[in-house]
């Protein structure tokens, strides 16, 4: 994790409707493959608002673990509900002190015009990556899996 270089303080991302949006970069993280992921003020603000509204404020402090989740995920898949190459989902089990248990946390990273940026963080049902009720496990494209992790731990 590092501060953005002066040339990276603002990035232009493309939203779902193809429009360009300028966003301020809070920090830059290298993910498990050493690729840059930009964490923007807008992405963090949305996620905090969302967690607050869902009465899951205990997860807000886990935003500080973003560099760790992105650099050391259990498994990363391409979102099967999105166009190929559009969205990566990084999964990692984290201990939530407030609940005294581990939860599967999903970090959403969008890839637009070659720029990867943090989009959202939420709890995912344990043991299942997104989309398993809709597509066959063999159709889920795994981008990365940690050496100690087995695919069946995530329903694959």
């Amino acid at each position: 994790m590092r501060e953005p270089f002066p040339s990276e303080e603002y990035i232009t991302i493309v939203d779902n409707k193809g429009r360009e949006r300028v966003q301020r970069v809070e920090y830059v993280v290298l993910d498990v493959r050493g690729e840059k992921v930009y964490v923007t003020a807008d992405g963090l603000a949305y996620t905090e608002d969302s967690l607050e509204a869902k009465d899951q404020s205990y997860l807000i402090e886990k935003l500080s673990r973003l560099p760790d989740i992105l650099a050391h995920p259990d498994i990363v898949i391409w979102d099967p509900a999105e166009a190929p190459g559009d969205t990566l989902i990084y999964y990692k089990r984290l201990y939530i002190a407030a609940l005294r248990r581990r939860k599967l946390v999903a970090v959403i990273v969008k890839v637009r015009r070659g720029i990867k940026f943090f989009y959202n963080l939420h709890i995912q049902e344990s043991g299942k990556v997104k989309g398993l009720t809709v597509v066959l496990p063999s159709e889920i494209e795994v981008w990365y899996i940690a050496p100690q992790v087995r695919r069946r731990q995530f329903g694959l």
């Binding site: 779902n16 409707k17 969302s50 509204a53 869902k54 009465d55 899951q56 404020s57 205990y58 997860l59 979102d79 099967p80 509900a81 999105e82 969205t87 407030a98 609940l99 248990r101 939860k103 599967l104 999903a106 959403i108 989009y119 959202n120 939420h122 709890i123 995912q124 049902e125 344990s126 299942k128 997104k130 989309g131 398993l132 009720t133 809709v134 597509v135």
Partner: protein
């Protein structure tokens, strides 16, 4: 992406926060739901490509979660099913209120926001 959270104003917020099972996929690819452990009812809904999958998401909500009514204060809607709330979200956030002002279809037939938004979206596609 559209994320909607339903809350019951009569239910106090948990001191430690809600220990929910987490988002799980439903039977359409782009709709995930999380459940309130106190009621066992869905309370958080996420559609990541709502601008593209709106008809499918609406279909899923209409057939699987149609037995509960919600107020949407931001939209001035009261006691509407979830698919109507999502149709308002589509008209407001995706179509950015470019849809013509909605009028009752007939005095005897209550206005269906979903029907009008689907019709508009199909015509604009």
């Amino acid at each position: 992406m559209v994320e909607a959270i339903a809350s019951d104003p009569d239910m106090p917020r948990s001191k430690t926060g809600l220990d929910t099972p987490g988002y799980r996929s439903l039977w359409v690819a782009d709709l995930m739901v999380d459940y309130d452990p106190r009621t066992g009812r869905p309370y958080a809904f996420m559609s990541s490509s709502f601008e593209k999958t709106y008809p499918l998401v609406i279909w899923a909500l209409k057939f699987h979660i149609a037995d509960e009514l919600f107020d949407v204060p931001q939209a001035g809607l009261t006691a509407v099913p979830l698919h109507e709330a999502f149709s308002w979200a589509y008209a407001h956030f995706i179509l950015e209120d470019q849809m013509p002002i909605l009028q009752p279809e007939s005095p005897s037939e209550p206005r269906s926001l979903t029907r009008q938004v689907l019709r508009y979206a199909a015509a604009a596609a």
